[in-house]
């Protein structure tokens, strides 16, 4: 046990699984960095340093830099997974899925079904996502609604270092294709992380905070903002629950409905674009399956339907923040 960063927790998960299972391989652009050069050979460890040190421990046979050809190497992960490896492949920013979606959507996700249940495709696609780093429209998207929409994929969004480790280990051990999304603003977050190897199961929400007045559902970086909002509200005697479902697919519908029943008031905070997003998804499940328990409109706190802007003044306005969440809770409570 010890305090570790989100990044270190992910790195530890990779180390432990690579050690435990020789079929686990890691590849992607600059996952080592330095290949072919005359300087440091493990210079980057991925753009965010998550894979740093794997090269030294497991060698070039299992830790491979790639050319900038996401379709080829993500597809290679799918083909390798079909034939006996358990690849953990990285696309640097989830935004780059645009150049390789086919290999995920039409290949990896569908093999098992199309082939009548006779194959397994145990691959993990890691990518960083999210706004806040002033990375502008093509490097800041969330996009998990797209993956969640696609049957055959599992989609994971950790919000704490401890979950990051346990969920990544679970992802690597899982026999289905898993999209594992890491918020770029969380890598430096610190938290308690157990040293030994452990897995956090998919489809089980984390109950971050319990309170009877309303239920806030949030993923990734928005969990922290929901907590901040909850803390603020608590000062005024308003006690809300904060739930992090942790995976969008499978979704822990049970816990979501339970907290809806208990509170009657639902607020969903989602960093993804609003249309056909996760807030909409959860809202629609609640509106269909727990309608009777609702005492107020289901409120979504999301960015507007715009690309992510560059300038700090705009990007800050773009992202849901604690103030907007507090306001949503108040609006919900105003309904009697």
């Amino acid at each position: 046990m010890g305090r570790k960063s989100f990044r270190a927790a992910l790195n530890e998960a990779l180390h432990q699984e690579m050690k435990a299972d020789p079929r686990v391989v890691v590849f992607g652009e600059d996952v080592t960095g330095g290949t072919g050069g005359d300087g440091e050979q493990d210079a980057w460890g991925g753009a965010f340093g998550v894979t740093k040190g794997l090269l030294g421990a497991y060698g070039r046979e299992r830790v491979l830099d790639t050319p900038i050809t996401e379709s080829a190497f993500v597809g290679a992960a799918a083909g390798a997974a079909l034939t006996g490896l358990r690849p953990v492949v990285e696309i640097m920013f989830v935004d780059f899925i645009g150049v390789c979606l086919d290999q995920v959507m039409n290949q990896a996700a569908k093999f098992r079904y199309m082939f009548g249940g006779k194959t397994r495709c145990p691959m993990v696609l890691r990518a960083t996502f999210g706004a806040g780093a002033r990375s502008a429209s093509q490097h800041s998207q969330a996009l998990y609604p797209i993956f969640t929409h696609i049957p055959g994929l599992k989609v994971v969004i950790p919000s704490t270092p401890s979950d990051a480790k346990g969920l990544l280990i679970e992802a690597i051990r899982d026999d289905d294709p898993v999209v594992f999304l890491e918020h770029k603003m969380l890598y430096d977050e610190q938290g308690e992380v157990a040293d030994q190897s452990y897995a956090v199961p998919f489809g089980e929400a984390r109950i971050v905070r319990e309170g009877p007045d309303a239920a806030i559902f949030a993923y990734g970086r928005m969990v922290g903002r929901a907590e901040a909002a909850a803390a603020k509200l608590a000062e005024e005697g308003i006690n809300v629950s904060v739930i992090d479902p942790r995976t969008t697919s499978p979704l822990d519908t049970e816990t979501i409905l339970e907290f809806t029943e208990e509170t009657g008031r639902v607020i969903i905070v989602d960093e993804a674009s609003p249309r056909c997003g996760m807030a909409a998804d959860i809202s629609s499940i609640v509106a269909e399956q727990a309608f009777g328990a609702l005492r107020a409109p289901i409120l979504k706190v999301t960015p507007p339907h715009t690309p992510v802007p560059y300038a700090p003044s705009l990007e800050d306005a773009y992202l849901p923040d604690a103030a907007r969440i507090v306001d949503a809770v108040r609006r919900s409570l105003a309904h009697r």
């Binding site: 079929r23 391989v25 046979e61 299992r62 491979l64 790639t66 050319p67 050809t69 379709s71 080829a72 190497f73 993500v74 597809g75 290679a76 992960a77 799918a78 083909g79 390798a80 997974a81 079909l82 034939t83 006996g84 490896l85 690849p87 086919d102 290999q103 039409n106 290949q107 093999f111 098992r112 079904y113 199309m114 082939f115 009548g116 249940g117 006779k118 194959t119 397994r120 049957p151 055959g152 599992k154 899982d174 026999d175 289905d176 489809g203 697919s249 499978p250 979704l251």
Partner: protein, 325 residues
């Protein structure tokens, strides 16, 4: 690498099986018994057969939308294949996949593919497994002349070189991508494209079983020895229209006549075998009859089989839960 009499007999049987299979699928489709659309491999038999004869059971192939021939040549059973194409529960994929998604991992057939260019990256992956786990296997990606332009193919050529993978890219050039001629759509020269990546590449007469077999065998030997990937550009012929519903008016009647009469790889193999005295006509006739019977039986069984139970709609989406979630 010369083929033995036994090899040649096996090759002839495989090619004849593919031809008979496709002829029958065509009949079933015309009669409305194939629910979806299907792309027939007739005319290209020497490619699938010659390539797959150069492979072992542990080697992998990745196929295309025109995948029946590859499947048969790699060892998939024709009974379940026909049932799959007819959408039956006894099909290779329990009726969930159909003509474009036949796969059988037990014989190293990683799947037909409805996405043009979908396969080459997957073959790189299978080759990576072979290299990493030191299985000694090679992987073959079949692609059409149309697919060769798709970015995935180019990326895969580069990746195969960079990672030095035991993979072979077989470009089956039948001159057409749907109704568009490769003369229009495929600029330059496919062998030179591969050479631009530093890859061993050659042009092969895809209508000659032995040329296909020999060039593939050489590439397999290189790949197994760790000497890297190859590309084989095989010129061949597509006998039917692009798919069962294609009336094929973009080719002149004369060019189709010439094709059928002068460029049939099966006629050619048969003639060579008889002329060379390697296999006597009677043996070949007997094979023809046996094949005919086997395919007949497959068709009858497929027609008689049940459609999948709608209760199976939601199974096999995920390994870890019974139903889609």
């Amino acid at each position: 690498m010369q083929m033995s009499r036994e090899d040649l007999e096996r090759a002839y049987r495989t090619m004849r099986t593919i031809r008979a299979f496709e002829t029958n699928v065509h009949v079933e489709a015309q009669a409305g018994r194939v629910p979806g659309s299907t792309h027939l491999y007739a005319g290209q038999e020497a490619v699938a057969t010659g390539v797959c004869m150069a492979l072992g059971n542990g080697d992998h192939i990745v196929s295309t939308h025109r995948g029946h021939g590859h499947s048969i040549a790699k060892g998939c059973e024709v009974g379940p294949m026909m049932a799959e194409i007819l959408g039956k529960e006894s099909g290779t994929c329990k009726g969930k996949g159909g003509s474009m998604h036949i796969a059988d991992l037990n014989v190293g057939m990683l799947g037909a593919n409805g996405i043009v260019g979908g396969g080459p990256p997957l073959a790189c992956g299978a080759a990576l497994t072979a290299k990493t786990l030191k299985t000694g296997s090679v992987a073959v990606a079949f692609s059409g002349d149309g697919a060769v332009n798709q970015g995935t193919t180019a990326e895969s050529l580069n990746l195969a070189m960079v990672w030095n993978l035991p993979v072979i890219f077989v470009i089956e050039d039948n001159g057409w991508g749907e109704a568009t001629s490769s003369e229009f759509a495929t600029a330059g020269d496919i062998v030179m494209r591969a050479q631009g990546y530093g890859m061993a590449a050659e042009l092969v007469d895809g209508l000659s079983l032995s040329n296909v077999y020999e060039s593939t065998s050489a590439a397999v030997t290189r790949a197994r020895a760790g000497e890297g990937p190859s590309l084989l550009h095989m010129k061949t012929e597509r006998f039917y229209g692009h798919f069962n519903g294609d009336v094929d008016t973009y080719r002149s009647e004369e060019s189709k006549r010439v094709q059928r009469h002068e460029r049939d790889c099966l006629t050619r193999l048969r003639a060579t075998l008889i002329k060379s005295g390697l296999i006597e006509e009677g043996t070949l006739d007997a094979i023809d009859a046996e094949v005919e019977d086997a395919i007949d039986a497959a068709v009858k069984a497929a027609r008689a089989a049940n459609e999948p139970d709608p209760a199976t709609l939601e199974t096999d989406v995920y390994v870890s839960y019974a139903e889609g979630n």
